[in-house]
Amino acid sequence: MHGELKEVYKPMSSEPTQVDSTSANPSSVDHFVQQQYRYGFVTDIESETVPPGLDEDVIRWISARKEEPQWLLDWRLEAYHHWLKMSPPDWAHLKIKPIDFQAISYFSAPKSDKDRPKSLDEVDPKLLETYEKLGVPLHERARLAGVVAVDVVFDSVSLGTTFREELKKAGVIFCSFSEAVHDYPDLVKQYLGTVVPSRDNFFAALNSAVFSDGSFVFIPKGVRCPMELSTYFRINAADTGQFERTLIIAEERSHVSYLEGCTAPMRDQNQLHAAVVELVAMDDANIKYSTVQNWYPGDENGVGGIYNFVTKRGDCRGDRSRISWTQVETGSAITWKYPSCILRGDSSVGEFYSVALTNNYQQADTGTKMIHIGRNTRSKIIAKGISAGHGQNAYRGLVRITKNAENARNYTQCDSMLIGKNCGAHTFPYIEVSNPSAKVEHEATTSRIGEDQLFYCLQRGISEEDAVSMIVDGFCKQVFRELPMEFAVEAKALLEVSLEGAVG
């Protein structure tokens, strides 16, 4: 029952492979792929929202409202004018209905923004209740753990930041992007757009023009961030695009682990999300970026759900720097996302660990890019795709070894699991090698949860639900163990929820 196809690529070869679900599968697993979205509710808070549509005035309005300096407005406008000349990418293995960018509202904030709460005690209880429902007991978590600082983004404006003081003592800056623009304009100006240029791609350009808020992290030289940093994103107001912008700078010999996780309320209309995340790692710096993404995936007929077009990129600018992406993607109707590493510094290391699950009519085209520029650079890619229902799951990965990247190494492992007979798994590896000393390895497997594995578990007395959960969990183990402990538990739970609460 283990269909295995193993490919070891020679330099310069880049043939895409595809595996489609064809043969019949036991009906016994079918009901596992029927699952209601647990976090479907809408918080009734009056929002201040600009009317749908995008033009220069909207951008000026956003920038003015956020009291931004002129240079940032100019930067937005430059991005906007470039965006007008671009068209949405069509190369992904995704079926997307054309998006009407003029039907989207580009700014929304809870009405109480002017007198923003100073602490969690001042936060609208209804909002806190929302987080409770989402399983994000903010104050509880903060009080109990004492290790996780939470910068909450509700719609487009940051509401509260905890542990700021403790982080300040260590010299760490962790604040909303808007605050950073006011309080650390030089840092923002120095780094903004240096990893993902405003013209990088259609969605990055759009984000650059209209980004609302996000997180800013700066870890000074030699500092090991004393706690895991975490942000919870949510989308709430209907038809409101969400354009987060995150910038993390790790100076020489510094160390930071950043967690990002989110859920969204149930909506009928597709919502656009186009975030940009930029990471910069200087000499000997280490950035670990973990994501659990659980946005509303649409219903079982493929109606609704978030369109998630994200540009995430890390720049290993310094020698011996390391950037590690770990993602667990279970939500969104459409996921278009390739967290990447530019391995510029000598002996720098890039890693990508991914679990992507598509159920019902979800589609994901996700993977990574590892661009080897420095000498002795290493990259590792572990991608696990799980397809159920009518889900379509594509891995798309680029490994590029440039001319001067002596002794570059890449290892790619790309595994797909199919649950049911209507789903698909696709693998598109691109390998470009311009230096003969490179060693590039690619392995791919496709397996199916079948009668055999399930029956084996049942015959030992394990229930069907527990069996599916156990098998899927085992499949994802290599990725889960890269997540911070607390997040790993959450990720595992999410996967179970997404495949019908398999673990009781």
Partner: protein, 258 residues
Amino acid sequence: MLEIKNLHVTVGGKAILKGLDFSIEAGQVHAIMGPNGSGKSTLGNVIAGREGYEVTQGEVLYKGKNLLELAPEVRACEGIFMAFQYPVEIPGVNNTYFLRAALNAQRKYRGEPELDSMEFLKLVREKLKILHINDDLLHRAVNEGFSGGEKKRNEIFQMAVLEPVLAILDETDSGLDIDALRLVAEGVNRLRSDDRAMIVITHYQRLLDHIVPDKVHVLADGKIVARGGAELALKLEEQGYTWLEQGGIQSLGAELRA
């Protein structure tokens, strides 16, 4: 303990078992022998409750109850264990974790307290000692990368931990060299007990040199065609299954006839 009456089973519309009668009591070990395609593995799968096997006629009573209406995991919890001919690999799932989940599921079913990891480890060490199995198997994923011998030993090890009432050993000898076979057979013999029944399904007599059965049943074309003691297996080995087809059964005498 187990009583099968006039069992007819089809697989994918094709009749495989055609009126099989069989029974076994606690404390006994019965061998079911027969040529390829005679329905041996089908019998095991029907008892264990695998999907895709349609019972069209007959009944299966286990501890006096209708076994066929129980879900496979309930049968397991009621003490039915199958040592698989081809144990599947479950990548990333630790062997010990798997077995503890199984044991605790069964204990829960019986209303017994679940074992914590320390208690479980203690139990596992005892069983390993009895079976002379290296604890290396415990740290690996379920059957992943196991040799044929290791897979079969792992099955017997699971059987030792789960302590079934009725164990079915489906072609446990297949793919084993003589040393591995002896090890597995020794394990099985240590697990023989007065309150446990075992059904040993095999094509070859050689396993029965090591696991001596109380009774041998010969299955051909979906029916038991002969029953006898351990000596029947020897006779079969000597004569081959073609001898059956040529009416050799008659020569064994009326008392052996089904």
